[in-house]
């Protein structure tokens, strides 16, 4: 099965509302990264996390290594937040390899 499972797979939000995306890991993740793939196809790095929480503007992310999950909270969603969000986990024994989740497709409507 998937080593990094993301939920939901797709999400539609009204502008100005809040939501949360989640990743569950079946590998012993040591670090987590969150990316947004924009319409041009580039993956933009949002967060690099060791266990704990980081916040950047309207985005906040938590990585709980003991319970093997990470969340990405979006506050006051804007149109430009639309895209596909990916989480990726590095496991201590996997060297330079990140394992990516299956992605959450987010559409923010006016």
């Amino acid at each position: 099965g998937d080593k990094v499972k993301q939920s939901p797979s797709a999400l539609s939000l009204q502008e100005g509302t809040n939501s949360a995306l989640r990743c569950n890991f079946s590998i012993a993740a040591t670090t987590v990264q969150w990316f947004l793939q924009n319409p041009r196809g580039s993956l933009i790095n949002l967060f690099y996390l060791v266990p704990g929480t980081k916040e950047n503007g309207r985005l906040k992310s938590t990585f709980n290594s003991k319970e093997s999950y990470s969340t990405l909270h979006i506050r006051d969603a804007q149109l430009e937040d639309s895209g596909t969000y990916f989480c990726a986990a590095e496991a201590g024994n996997m060297g330079y390899k990140l394992t990516f989740g299956t992605g959450t497709s987010l559409l923010v409507d006016p």
């Binding site: 990264q33 041009r40 196809g41 580039s42 993956l43 596909t84 390899k97 990516f100």
Partner: protein, 112 residues
């Protein structure tokens, strides 16, 4: 602002042809990567290079080969493309193992 540059952005070719994708990073990073993103948007690593040494190779078909002239460049060569090679190929770099990845905009390959 883009700091990982990929060319070409888009390429259509026939089965059996050879294809090369170029990647350059201007971040001074030590490690570069190639990922494949399939039609379901699943991302899987193909190669990573650190100081001209191949350190990860995810059992990709032998027709794929990475080529690096220096730490700022990592090209991807496909010797004889097959239909299942149709995908978006994404180049990335990082300053150390496991640190933040910076991606290029991808190179879409269509094999007809």
């Amino acid at each position: 602002e883009t700091a990982v540059f990929q060319t070409p952005n888009y390429h259509v070719t026939q089965v059996g042809n050879e294809v090369s994708f170029n990647c350059k990073q201007t971040l001074g990073h030590d490690t570069m990567y190639w990922y494949k993103q399939d039609s379901k948007k699943l991302l899987k690593i193909m190669f990573s290079y650190n100081n001209k040494q191949l350190i990860v190779n995810e059992t990709v078909p032998r027709r794929f080969s990475p080529q690096s002239s220096d730490k700022a460049h990592l090209n991807l060569r496909i010797k004889s493309v097959e239909p299942e090679d149709s995908a978006v190929y994404l180049c990335a770099s990082s300053d150390n193992s496991g640190n933040t990845l910076y991606f290029g905009e991808g190179s879409r390959l269509i094999v007809v």
